[in-house]
């Protein structure tokens, strides 16, 4: 009799008001306490890597910018850096600064978006609307520079597609001044609100050890005191020339992650101001003839963490292999460490606190007719090793 009593499962997903995308968290609950969590994603697998292999090198940036509507500057940049490394291209100085500005504008609007959504997830819709209103001028700036509010497609192999015109810089700096004031107000409101403290502090703690164990990246890691940031650790674009700080908070709870994101907005504003000041004159792109055979990786610090692209060329005009690893792919499994033992309202905000982006993270699982996953960890490892050996043989 006792075995027939199933543990109650609370389904967050596949369609749930918590998040816009398709995701499925099975929360095994004991009253209000979550005792286990099963994360199931891949409701929207689009086969980006496979499509990428059918496109030419210069078409791929527009494809990968559509991996995620929000990281649409980071993904193409990582890809382009990989290709530039294969071909040994050095983009002009001005292009590096333009890339920096676009990427930091993207970080600002992504972090503001998260702050708003986090407010919505804990039922604070006023914060939701206000943060999104503050975010709007940033999107307008991006539209004015690149032509699009999202999916800018501004980076191409050898440089940039659109320049940051010198006329726009004054307006941009003015908008950033206004944004800094508003963000300051918002940050103070978050840091001083006792109800928000009660609601967010000590919730969903991801300890330093767990953060290292699950290899989380981005604000998720920095909120647990792990000071990693690709912009500083392996500088790309113009970050090495600029003066800014890596924000970390030691607590590892949702509040710390919120503080990290809010303070990073100020750092981004600082970076853009310096970049606008130092912006050198000159062309924004060099001509690219052909991509030789070879392989390379490119990585950038997307708003959610490290975006990693691996590209292999055989000397033709298409990549023969293109591998993408978005930050959510490593951040999502950390729910196992941060959610179990928490209460349901804490778990939902913890799920949102890593700012998961499922469309970046979708992977394929092969199942047989009994709904059993065919490839487990061992067979996948074996397949991967076989493939690597085969590829190495081809490369020689």
């Amino acid at each position: 009799m006792k075995e027939s009593i199933k543990k109650p499962v609370l389904a967050v997903g596949p369609f749930h008001p918590l998040q816009e995308e398709m995701e499925f968290f099975q929360l095994t609950v004991d009253g209000e306490i979550v005792t286990d969590i099963d994360v199931r994603i891949s409701y929207n697998h689009r086969g980006i890597e496979k499509i990428s292999e059918t496109l030419q090198f210069d078409q791929v940036p527009y494809l990968v910018s559509r991996i995620c509507g929000i990281c649409s500057a980071s993904h193409p940049l990582a890809y382009v850096q990989a290709v530039e490394e294969i071909a040994g291209i050095t983009p002009p100085e001005r292009a590096l600064y333009v890339r920096t500005i676009i990427n930091e504008l993207e970080r600002i609007h992504s972090h503001m978006l998260w702050v708003g959504l986090a407010g919505h997830f804990i039922g604070y819709d006023t914060v939701f609307m206000w943060a999104w209103k503050y975010r709007e001028p940033v999107l307008d700036l991006l539209e004015e520079i690149t032509g699009n509010r999202n999916n800018y497609g501004n980076v191409k192999i050898g440089g940039c597609r659109e320049d940051v015109p010198n006329e726009i810089i004054g307006k941009m700096l003015k908008e950033l001044d206004a944004l800094e004031k508003k963000t300051d107000m918002l940050t103070k409101a978050v840091l001083d609100d006792p109800v928000l403290h009660a609601r967010l502090k000590g919730v969903g703690i991801l300890s330093y050890e767990d953060a290292v164990k699950y290899a989380v990246t981005g604000p998720t890691a920095r909120g647990s005191g792990v000071a990693i940031d690709v912009r500083r650790d392996d500088p790309y674009a113009a970050y090495a020339d600029l003066d800014w700080n890596v924000i970390t908070q030691p607590e590892g709870d949702v509040f710390a992650k919120a503080v990290v994101r809010l303070l990073e907005v100020f750092e981004s504003i600082k970076i853009i101001r310096q970049a606008a000041k130092k912006l050198p004159d000159g062309p924004i792109a060099v001509e690219v003839k052909e991509i030789p055979a070879g392989e390379a990786v490119g990585h950038t610090e997307a708003p959610r963490g490290e975006t990693f692209h691996y590209v292999r060329s055989d000397g033709g005009n298409r990549p023969v292999r293109h591998k993408v690893r978005a930050p959510s792919f490593v951040n999502v499994p950390s729910f196992k460490a941060s959610c179990i033992g928490e209460e349901i309202p804490d778990v939902t905000i913890t799920l949102a606190a890593v700012d998961p982006c499922y469309s970046c993270t979708e992977r394929l699982a092969v199942i047989d007719e009994n709904n059993k996953i065919v490839h487990d960890y061992e067979t996948l490892l074996k397949l991967s090793r076989e493939k690597t050996a085969k590829m190495k043989k081809e490369m020689l």
Partner: protein, 310 residues
């Protein structure tokens, strides 16, 4: 008109069901519009709540296979009936000035009825989300009933031991320290009864879907919406009658007081995140409880020594 017909008119049209319903839907429009203005949005047109209810009325009703059909379908009706009775009583007090001894106690009972119906309906719907919502609603009811009773005891002491709403509405206890404490505490209780942020954890859209109402659809959901709209009239009206002197001075002053209470509720709704259920219980039992015990003591001292402002 003969007397039974007159009573029927009172119950069904004015100031009963239809009048309260229309006023309630307008009040829920005010809630949405003011929230929108606070949040820099445009907000819905005046008739939007009416459209919502009418549209829901025409939608298919789905009842889960494992649900207790009778309780599941009856719960929203019970909720509407309880709210209707409560608002009838309050309108009679406010507009006609008729009342009976002890109707404040009846009002207390009637105010619990919608919450109980919600708990019954949620637990009859055989959904894990609704189950969690139900358990939260039960804890919430246990949380706010104690401070609400204490607050009403303060009012009864201030009015010199009167138990009828008309007699209580003659004075405005909010103009004293104990009355103010009691008013603020009952405002929070009304917030919880209405299921508004920060006490909307039973519905908790971003955690439980819509939690306790998750399995309701079509006309049954419309009936819940109707009950909620009518509560939006009845509960602030109760606060106005008990704490703010009701409609005794003039009709317009009464309407002004009602709108004031409604706007206070909306502002609380829009400047807070949703709290957890144990935080809500702690708030009601410890913080409100202690404040109200102090208020009861102050009111007793004030009453015995004739100090009005205590």
């Amino acid at each position: 008109m003969t007397e039974p017909l007159q009573i029927l008119f009172w119950v069904v049209v004015f100031p009963g069901f239809l009048f309260t319903l229309i006023l309630g839907l307008v009040a829920s429009w005010i809630v949405r519009k003011v929230s929108a203005l606070v949040q820099w949005r445009v907000g819905p047109p005046l008739l939007q709540p009416f459209y919502d209810v009418i549209k829901l009325m025409g939608k298919e009703i789905l009842i889960p296979q494992e649900a207790q059909r009778t309780i599941f379908t009856m719960a929203p009706v019970v909720s509407v009936a309880g709210t209707l009775l409560l608002s009838m009583m309050l309108w009679r007090v406010s507009l006609a000035g008729t009342s009976f001894v002890g109707d404040i106690i009846v009002a207390i009972y009637l105010m619990v009825l919608p919450s109980l119906a919600l708990i019954l309906g949620g637990s009859a719907s055989a959904s894990p989300h609704a189950t969690v919502g139900t358990s939260r609603e039960m804890k919430l009811v246990m949380g706010y009933e104690l401070p609400l009773l204490l607050a009403l005891i303060v009012v009864i002491i201030k009015s010199g031991g009167q138990l009828s709403l008309v007699a209580i509405a003659q004075n405005a206890p909010v103009l004293s320290i104990s009355g103010m404490l009691a008013f603020l505490a009952s405002l929070m209780c009304v917030q919880a009864k209405l299921g508004f942020v920060p006490f909307d954890m039973a519905e908790a859209e971003t955690e439980l879907g819509s939690g306790i109402l998750m399995e309701y659809s079509g006309a049954l959901l419309a009936v819940w919406k109707v009950a909620q709209a009518m509560m939006l009239v009845a509960l602030p009206l109760f606060l106005v009658t008990v704490f703010l002197g009701g409609f005794t001075s003039s009709l317009w002053a009464g309407i002004g007081k009602y709108v004031l209470v409604l706007v206070l509720i909306i502002l609380i709704k829009n400047t807070n995140p949703r709290v957890q259920i144990h935080q809500a219980m702690k708030f009601f039992w410890v913080h409100c409880g202690i404040a109200l015990v102090v208020a009861v003591i102050l009111a007793t001292i004030g009453n015995n020594y004739g100090i009005g402002w205590l």
